[in-house]
């Protein structure tokens, strides 16, 4: 469904992605794990069109979208809930969700948008309670739910989630990840970028490990979980002797 072919992205003279190739099939949760600065967010922003790659190509449903503008990519059906949530803090929860549907908002689609909003309220009931509240006054977990809901309001064919666990308590992470899984079970396709490899591998179907701008492993999550290198570097296993 979405395919990156040896994509290289630069920040000025600094090369952040060194030929990243990944693909996501319909109905999967694919996770991209890696440390800080490995290029996870850069990958998502390159897909979303906020950054344009110097080399390589991006295909979405067999159409090349490499140099498309962010708004065009959203209207094609790729939507991102960015790192650090980036909600519109001074605006209400309702307005945040409405803006999520910006590219398809017309008089004719209003009812449909309302229905989609109800779907989100069903998934995240707390957002309905806070509908009139300013988004900036929500808790971190609620803001993350809002960011996911807002991205979902564009009716994406594929949802890009950038570190939904960032800065959240373990229980909240658990809740949000179960909701992400629920979204997949309803047919959504998700690319999940995470530093919290354990949480990500628990819900994903496949995973890529990215290090300094390069994909170093790609496996099903079961195999990744068993991989010694992944265990040591990302799951904190193999250091038992230090703790015992």
């Amino acid at each position: 469904m979405l395919k990156l072919v040896s994509v290289s992205t630069y920040y000025g003279a600094i090369q952040a992605l060194k030929g990243v190739s990944i693909h996501i099939k319909k109905g999967e949760i694919v996770t991209l794990i890696g440390a800080n600065g490995a290029g996870k967010t850069t990958t998502l922003n390159t897909i979303s069109g906020l950054l344009h790659p110097k080399k390589g190509q991006i295909f979405f449903q067999d159409m090349e979208i490499t140099r498309f503008s962010p708004e065009r990519i959203v209207s094609l059906g790729i939507s991102q809930a960015p790192e650090g949530r980036q909600i519109f803090a001074t605006m209400s929860v309702m307005d945040n969700l409405l803006l999520g549907s910006y590219h398809r908002y017309k008089r004719k689609t209003r009812r449909q948008i309302q229905q989609d909003m109800d779907v989100i309220f069903e998934l995240f009931p707390v957002l309905k309670e806070r509908i009139k509240q300013k988004a900036g006054t929500l808790s971190g977990g609620e803001q993350q739910m809002l960011a996911i809901g807002r991205a979902f309001m564009s009716r994406p064919k594929i949802l890009l989630l950038d570190e939904p666990s960032m800065g959240l308590a373990p229980l909240v992470i658990k809740e949000i990840f179960s909701k992400i899984k629920a979204l997949r079970d309803e047919g959504a396709t998700i690319l999940l970028v995470e530093q919290n490899a354990k949480a990500a591998l628990n819900i994903a179907d496949r995973g890529y490990v990215i290090e300094t701008g390069k994909v170093v492993f790609q496996e099903t999550t079961e195999k990744l979980k068993e991989n010694k290198e992944v265990q040591r570097a990302y799951l904190g296993k193999g250091y038992k002797e230090v703790w015992e």
Partner: protein, 292 residues
Amino acid sequence: MSIFTKILQYIFTGLTIGSIFAMVGLGFNIIYNATDIINFAQGEFVMIGGMVMVSLTKGMNIPMIPAFFLTIIIVAIVGILLERLAINPLSNPSIITIIIITIGASIVFKGLAMLIWGKDTFILPAFTGETPINVGGAVIIPQSIWVLGITLLVVACLAVFFEKTLLGKAMRACATNRKAASLMGINVNRMVMLSFALSAAIGAVSGVIITPISLMDYHRGTMLAIKGFAAAILGGLGSGAGAVIAGFLIGIMESMGAGFISSGYKDAIALVVLLLVLFIKPTGLMGKSELR
């Protein structure tokens, strides 16, 4: 004239001229909110608005109401051209570069206006008669009521636009978080252009309504920009309500100062206010706590 009627008179005068400061201040805020740019050509939009209206009604004999709307459209196009030709082509300019560009643009507009309209001062007829109305001993000219009324109408329309329409919300979204706005499929580039068009249109409205009272010539814009900027700063940069209140305040202070101290110091008052605010409370009356 008793002191009471004097004060009342100064308040009427102050509210009238303050309306224009308020609208210029609003113009500053709209562009600032969408782009972080302080557009010092804002006063020139007012000047061009007045001058175009003069040409349309007197030169081409177009009736007042269609000429009014035509003026708004023409000046909005000037605003769009400014953004497209001078600001949009730059990739990642610093704020200071853009400010210098807008100051340059204001000089260019002034020069062009001088070439087109000459150095004469122009006037427009008042919308509805010139007979002053007596209120508590003070007089108010009908055009002042038009100025106040239209200002409040513009403010109300802007409030509805930014609070109720999706397009207005999208513009606010660009102001709060550009990256996220772009990820929602909002064309940030177009919103910036729209903010210039909107500011220019508001400038045009103020130019048309104030010319019957204070006349218009090619270099009137600069001082209006400075005073409108003072209103925007006093109100708190980015706050629409703040700019309106501060615009009226500065207008009243100016007319009080002119009346009680000396009319020679009239223009200095806004500048003193501007400096004091920047020294004492840079966030203004209703500004956000953090300033970039």
